[in-house]
Amino acid sequence: MQLWLIPVLPLAGFLINGLFGRRFSKGAVNAVAIGSVALSFAWVLKTILALSPLAGAYSEHYFTWIRSGIVNIGCDLAVDRLTIVMLLVVTGVGAVIHVYSIGYMAHEGGYYRFFAFLNLFMFFMLVLVLASNYLVMFVGWEGVGLCSYLLIGFYFDKKFATDAGNKAFIVNRIGDFGFSLAMFYMVKNFGSLDFATVFKQAPGAPEATLTIIGLLLMLGACGKSAQLPLYVWLPDAMAGPTPVSALIHAATMVTAGVYMTARSWAIYAHAPAAAETVAIIGIATAFFAATIGLAQNDIKKVFAYSTVSQLGYMFLGVGCGAFSAGIYHLVTHAFFKALLFLGAGSVIHALSGEQDLRNMGGLRKKTPWTFWTMMCAAVAIAGVPPFAGFFSKDAILLAAHHYAPWMYWLGTITAGMTAFYVFRAMFLAFFGEYRGHEHPHESPPVMLVPLAVLALLSIGGGFALHVPEFLGTAGGEEDRALMAISTAAGVMGIALAWLMYVAKPALAESFAASMRGLYTLVYNKYFVDEIYGAAVVNPLVGGSRAVLWKGVDVGLIDGAANGVGARARNIGSILRLMQSGNIRSYATWVLFGSVVLIVAMGIVGGLR
């Protein structure tokens, strides 16, 4: 079925644009970039049609990559139902966002570079998704990290963008470290990295082993999917262009951790401690990030924390054993969060770069398309039935209730807060009086059409796509009461936002004033960056400086090196006589060396 075509098509786009894009017109760059992704999407559809109904996994072996002792790792790609869901999301949403980028990036420098990186990202993401063993997956995993770095730092002439790129990369390294350790551990215990082999052996393995692997994998997932405590890079990653935020930092790459955890479900199923840790980290992240989101003024930051929070939901789902619910939420989240980001991008575009909510307002009339499409997404994320977010969030909360009721309640509170901060952003941006100075204008159709497509998916994606059924693990029986509670929480959040930001704007001020301490804490994101700075980065830097640099490096290594160097200089001043610059002398030394070598070989070889 030529699965390799799916990732290789965007790779070809990357190579063409990357190598020759500088000479291309924008039209040609567009054609290559979007054409490659669209073809890839088409090939995904063809693959699905050809393979349906896909009960098990279909895999293709291309070549043996590493053969060392018992380890035999091939370059294999595989498709099963989970992969299909991911493929559709990645290529589908990816294609839509590519189209959107035409409009958004129209006036930016480095046009071809942007699309080349975007295509490269698609390649690695598809490799990640299609991989049939952990190592190939890791290739994609690292590759998307690289592309994320490149695209966050896309405006590389701005310091904050490159800093954000570095931060993302370094924080991800911590997670990747966990992933690598997990792989080594797997090789040690299972002698293989193939999904099939590992998962077949998992039930018989000792629980401690599985727990260690599960926790290490979770560390990797936390890094990639911005979970506590490694979430700090994602809000900063908003320094990149908005389509990047939508594609990489909302819809696809950050969900790789969820995908990987869901993929490794067989391991977690037999390591309840690890699964519980995943669930706890998920719910904690969801709640924690949602509280930060309440007080942010940068529109993209709000959505970034929202993403962290929603990813927490997905982990909650996966950790509770309802991995299909997690994936379900992943899919719907890809729709509405991408839409929110693209809408935010449209707003930013309309305001020529303004991102602060306090300088917006009243845009409902000026940019109606953007408003209405974003509203679809806002409603969806708030969990209002029958929009997409409702179904998936409900599935997760249901699973959480079965798993541990306190998680359900915390999740419901978080849902309320989610509704509140999203609508707070919506109301601040689209209602009231316009508080900015630019002249807002509606975005071009090439940006609005993707918005509309995603809006349709946000509206209907929930009940049209039954991901859990497709994955063959339909959740438990519906619980009307729980459903009503979580819906009510969402509606209350919306209502509260309406009250505070539309009906009585003064209320928000007084509320913030009355709870100044808490507000400051939340507004400053719990000072996590500062705490990390004080607790990890500064000691590390200071310690490195004091001990490693001044002590070990200067004293020991430099001392040794200088000492060696000084001796070498002494010896060299004698040997320098050999370096006469005379070629014939050199030739004589070569001759000398070869004579010595022949003698040595003769002696070693036992020829006397």
């Binding site: 370096q579 006469s580 610059g581 005379n582 070629i583 014939r584 030739a587 004589t588 001759l591």
Partner: protein, 102 residues
Amino acid sequence: MTEVPISWFLTLSAVLFVLGVAGFVFRRSVVTVFMSIELMLNAVNLSFVTFSYQLQQVNGHLFAFFVMVVAAAEAAVGLAIILTVFKNRATLNIDDVDSMKN
């Protein structure tokens, strides 16, 4: 005795090789030095072909062939370098080309 011992060929090869080294070490003309290198390559080729005979395999011939190709490439570039050196320094004496010394 109508057959030649194989060691004779190898000894001839060794003699030629040593003569090439001698040319490299003792001659001052860059061109002659370069030719000495060719002489060494030829000597090595002879032993390749001899080994090929001994092992009754064609591989040695291919090595010799590749040596020739590389020698051709080397001659083209080397002579171009000699031309450039001569143009810049107006000398072919290898002992005069020693600016790496300082």
